[in-house]
Symmetry: C2
Subunit: 434 residues, 2 copies
Amino acid sequence: MNIVELIKKKRDGKSFAAYEVSFLIDQFTKGIIPDYQFSALLMAILLKGMNDSETSALTNSMLNSGKIINLSSLKGKKVDKHSTGGVGDKTSLIIAPIVASTGIYVPMISGRGLGHTGGTLDKLESIPGFKTNLSLSESMKILKKCGTVLIGQTKEIAPADKMIYALRDVTATVESIPLITASIMSKKLAEGIDGLVLDIKTGNGAFMKSHRDSIELANSLISTAKAFDKKVIAFITDMNQPLGNYIGNWLEVYESIQVLKGKVKNDLYTLSIKLAGAMIFLGNKARSFQTGEQIAKDKIENGDAFKKFLEIVGLQGGNVDYINNPEKYSKSKFVKKVHSDKSGFIKEINTYQFGMASLELGAGRRTKNDVIDHKAGIVLYKKIGDYLSKNEIVCELHSDSRKKIKLAEQMIVDSIKISKTKPPIPKLIKKIIQ
Amino acid sequence: MNIVELIKKKRDGKSFAAYEVSFLIDQFTKGIIPDYQFSALLMAILLKGMNDSETSALTNSMLNSGKIINLSSLKGKKVDKHSTGGVGDKTSLIIAPIVASTGIYVPMISGRGLGHTGGTLDKLESIPGFKTNLSLSESMKILKKCGTVLIGQTKEIAPADKMIYALRDVTATVESIPLITASIMSKKLAEGIDGLVLDIKTGNGAFMKSHRDSIELANSLISTAKAFDKKVIAFITDMNQPLGNYIGNWLEVYESIQVLKGKVKNDLYTLSIKLAGAMIFLGNKARSFQTGEQIAKDKIENGDAFKKFLEIVGLQGGNVDYINNPEKYSKSKFVKKVHSDKSGFIKEINTYQFGMASLELGAGRRTKNDVIDHKAGIVLYKKIGDYLSKNEIVCELHSDSRKKIKLAEQMIVDSIKISKTKPPIPKLIKKIIQ
């Protein structure tokens, strides 16, 4: 096979056979196809698309570039959740312990913060001592023992994805449904799971800004999951405002603790229950979503979920003292309260901007080598539809730098729109697709 | 400016400002933008296009990556011709001496054979001693002395084009109208010309297979030439059969000599007169195309054109003995006559296949390092619309290898279609655009 002819094929809008996709991924990962040819191919794929068979073939080739974890020795279903990422999205920290406490295995491989969004690994690492870079054999021991493990992508898992993603990132070829699908699914399928719940974020704080794109991505992910005989449920959920009220790594762990203890019942709680309910259903521990949700609620109320969280933190080297007594955690040097300069209802939040303000405060990375300040971030008191009196507190900014707070404050103020009349409140769960 | 944002811009179908194009070409030629980013950009350009201003800006940046020859010291107009290439297309060898003999300067920078097509430089180098790799100062001396010079692209001329072309060649991004336009025009504008005649080939032996694409390319070239205040005329001409009757390097020089001596008045003669006439018109030596054509014909009849050809061959180091006595040139070891196995009219010639058969015989290169056999090639006795009796000779194959002749013969036989009824004959000049 000739690589130029294959690029031409995709460029001209034709479809690849599975063996052609497999050849391309194999030759690229071996370094035989150079980056400059592969990036032209990626651009052709982004602009001309891939059908479901091609996307499955791509996922399969990327999956098989690495190790597929064999969990057959564990009796019981293995189910995971994947979110496409947003601002304040910390459901993994809540869902994994809930679902694991029902006897379903949750082998969760997560990522780091990307641009304006946070990453589960960064949040977990804000817990002193918590290790996410465990070897596969250590991870398996923990998974077997407590029913869940929360780790990062290892070198053994889908190495082709890592290589391809690095190239996509610098060639403006990230925003492609088939490429996103194969990237997500190759990693998730490597976990050896039976079922997967997808949380596709849509809105001004999501990577998929439009409802239409998010539906398209959901369908692509579902079709690929089914091609691999996996049970799957996709939720299209709102990201037109931060999820929950805390943004920033330790701040999000703190909020998760409150939800796991049953002390907070906000949108974060609602979504976590929904997603956990669907996982419990897929894991055959409930006959319907509704029963699954009820079980999830019970696990919070009876303390099992919080106990499971303490267990996993302990097993992964984290200091559980901070989970039991979160007030012990060190605070940012400066905590600035942002007041409203007028009265009215919050109509709109530029969630991307909000995420960037949190990054500015120290909660995120601009480049791979930036060091995160785990304490930094934002506590949001009001959300869309809430009324603000003049001079009422909208949010708190946490940072060790006065200069950063100043910059972030301006970004926050610019990102919130106030109206005199009560606006419609965005629906949290927009669609469920199976 | 951020390169990823610029790739995104083109990917999303937006237009570049001139300063953005200039930044991209400058940073790429300096090696700051790596190949893998530039190739993604090239694919986005191929699939999303460029408008006339972008194409002019691209041409300008590529032109200014190198030296622009200053011909202002030469009194008189400077006019060149460019052909998009085909099989048996040797008009440059005939046109340059005709036009130079009228007092117009013809500074002609040509290329080498590419795939199934021949290249002017390879043809000229079949003349023993003929040098095409002259320095710019040597070239200027010859141009001044005899009114024309026939050379290859030097390192000083549009180096950005050379770098970009090398990348396009291996990333399936050759077939893009704006990229082709900028590649052609950056080199032609560097010649310091006042006017340009374009010969856009269309048909099964051309790079532009469809009439529509050839018109689009013509319009793009014309618009770019005009943006640089150059006079321009484009001919859309037929390449559904080889031009003339000789294919292969020395064989084409031989045919050119016959035309220059006024001994042959075939389609090659007709097209050469048309193109030369247009150049003479652009060079202000005739008030109309028709007068230009008459002058061109006269230059052949009165021997001036042939004399000028002898002069340029001599000045560029070629042995004029072979021009005066072409029968002295060494012959291929084997000359195989191909006979028709049935009677009828030639209806169709797969000209691409014909070109590939000539390459197979030794007249072309598969890779850059292949050595050309200057004697090798094909003499075609019959063309579309001609009647063939059974066993009549269709063509002669010239090669030093019996094996190559066998392979080429099969290709030739497969490429010619015979019909019982007289087919329509392709029109040589399909359109003239100014």
